[in-house]
Amino acid sequence: MSTAKSSSVKPSEEIENVVIRLAGDSGDGMQLTGNQFTAVSALAGNDLATLPDFPAEIRAPAGTMAGVSAFQVHISSEDISHPGDKADVLVAMNPAALRSELSKVHSDATLIINTDEFGERELEKAGYDSNPLDDDSLEGYYVIDVPMTSLTVTAVKELGAKRRDAERSKNFFALGLLCWMYSRNPDDVKDWIDERFASDDLIRRSNVTAFDVGHAFGETTEQISITHVVESADHPPGTYRNVNGNTALAWGMIAATQLSGLQSFLGSYPITPASDILHELSKHPAAAFRTFQAEDEIAAVTSAIGASFAGDLAWTTTSGPGMALKGEAMGLAVSLELPLVIVNIQRGGPSTGLPTKTEQSDLFQAMYGRHGESPMPVIAARRPADCFECAIEAAQVALRYRTPVILLSDGYLGNSSEPWRIPDVDDLPDLSVEFATESNHENPDGSMDFWPYLRDEATLARPWAIPGTPGLEHRIGGIEKQDGTGDISYDAVNHQLMTDLRAEKIARIADDLPPPEYTGDLDAEVLLVGWGSTWGTIASAVERLRKEGILVAHLHLRYINPLPKEVGEILRSHRSVIVPELNMGQLSRMLRAEFLVDAQPLNKVAGLPFTVGEIEAAVRKAVHGDDGGSK
């Protein structure tokens, strides 16, 4: 492991963790800067979690609140799993960034402010009546004034860049300063700049220069007297990388392809925050992955159904509104009993809602967003790296049970990143399938037929006979089918049977499931039940509470349909069950209905993850009957 070498002459102090928030205009490159600071922190061996937070517009008017783009990173020498409730440090590139983000930092936070942008016009655009740097509105904060723009421009112009272009490098100034403050290895950043901007030497050199100037500013300014070191975290041995949820998911899809031995087909239509999966996968034709950008979400899913019929491992990726459009076709997939994985990177709803913000409000849609009785397995990923595993698992269930499967992630998971110990590929499961090659039904006269709905006794899966296989020609469709033959049938008894079989097939998946993740104090009065991306926050809250001596347990569900068999017993063994969800109480209702347990919803629909404090407060209230002196 490479260690960060601090080139500073100032004293340095060790800290356990820090939450840094970068905020600027949409055009200021805050996401890039944040991601790069994350990357060097990962290289420094820290554990970390990030929270990108940007507007839906490509680039709203410069300098306005609407245009502010922010990125938060939590770095730590301990295991962490959430991006931090409030930031310790805010980098504000302009007045709008300061104004819009101030509520998201601690009241004694360090504010690193690009003072060059605090002219009258900029202040007005941000809606400030007076300059916050001059009045006492920032009292309590530790304010560091940095003329980032001018320092950058002065240095970069010397390379021959035009003023406007020179200005663009100012985010690298900020990155340099932060790297100095937190003793990150400058070479890691510079290597990356060299690679990333290899195609334009002037830009490359401008960025390196800006970075150096920022770094040097830290060393020389009297406003900062000390650097900080966040020691590397105590990770288990292995090879690590940084990964965000969408990339991990795409790679999981590629891995499933390799493990199955099948060609993969992705039918997709771009939509935030799912598009990056399409982008990533379209780079890997050598991985036997064909991506098809369809004309809409309906064509995306129906083309995937066609590909599945023809023997591909088929996928479709989207977000809520696109999911709504796929409902009818999902019903077809249920009826055809073909393998298919449908991925929903959830975002804020209803309707267009908050396209770039996170939410968990599509769970009901996943469970019930189709007409008729059309049960489907629903799997949810809990952290960025978990998306990799979940993609493989979704494919495994789809292939084994010949069923469409819904895989839920969300905008937060998709965009945020964490260090990931790269798994040993030999530990990954074998997903190979056997296509049908022969007739399977003997007629009374001894002749043989192929019956497409003759099921495997254990899994109730039907045979997968693909075009090109002689003798197994068959026709299937969305009209109710005769059990066995698959012929059209309007028979009452058969319809009940088929409905029961489709339900039973999904229910049986529970036979294969490992026990759900259930940790903490198993004898606790309070149980927190979560699913999906709330995992990190809930786990952190549980850890903190237990340190305080408050007994609490945590059940986190990967499978929401079917529920693992152990869930009922676990729920019943705690007096108080709290279900935190970024929706109005969807899983909690499902649990209540299934187990008649008084599971209490803890809901938040604000486009943002829970804070650890919010979870803690709810538990304290349950334990003490009130807010119980929550700090």
Binding site: S303, P467, G468
Partner: protein, 342 residues
Amino acid sequence: MTTTETTTTAVDIPTTKRADWQSDQEVRWCPGCGDYSILSAMQFALPEMGIRREDTVVVGGIGCAARFPYYMNTYGIHGIHGRAPAIATGVALANPDLSVFVVGGDGDLLSIGGNHLLHALRRNINMTILLVNNRIYGLTKGQYSPTSEQGKVTKSSPRGSEDSPLLPLSIALGADATFVARTHDMDRQHMMEVFKRAHAHPGAAFVEVLQNCNVFNNHAYESITAKANREGMIIPLRQGEPIRFGPDDSLGVVLDPRHGAVVVNTADVSEDELLVHNEARDHPSVAFALSRLSPNMDEPTPMGVFRAVDRPVYGRNPVETEPPGRQLISDLLHSGTTWEVD
């Protein structure tokens, strides 16, 4: 769909006959429905296409015509309303060696499914699309369709439909379809020829089949397709020949900048003013002009192949067909920046 080449060199394709292409399912169309003759023309034509049953996939949406797959002893999907071209796209891309057929009605492929049709055609996906046009919604018992004539009185238009009809061939040509043809349910030979040509075409082949729904829109094309009327009302398109028809070839088609294509008495024009039919014109404008003849299907109507041009078939960007295996996963996961903890 196999290319022409495959068809001719396919020495190892077993000989089939019509019956081999018939499934064991009872055909459930109304007695007298034009779909019967389309089905049988297809089943008669298939043995001549040089393909195997197991390499053939028929995809339907929802509608009377869209039930086609059930009756074909091939692989088949009876999909959902309007989505057959999209389903077929997935089939065709997953396995380019298959012969993929799409069969649907005017409602299925032009109303709810119009967009998928458009995009399958412009992408030039390898499939043969039969749009079975009876100018009515059959399966839902008689509402007007996007090809119904204006003013048509149906269950949903008791005062006559206000919609002006789409011409399927114009739409296809507007999307720059590479193969565009028309045939009708009263002429098995013609259907067979057109179906074979369409299948042999590399890429997306679009065929409008005029079909009589004797229950909800009887005699829709009688003025054109009835034996007695054909001579004067069907304009046969023959590659390389001046377009003539009618008793003693007394009628013909000329191009006219004001009106596009027009029917004239051959006596009134000189031989070389007649439009010479050429399917292979790269530019779709002439075919388009022909597609606008007889917009209400009550004037002389061209039948045959309007356009047949080459354009790369979608799906040529190579994709590995067999996943290389676990090593690829490992390489991928280790790509970019990594670090070791020990």
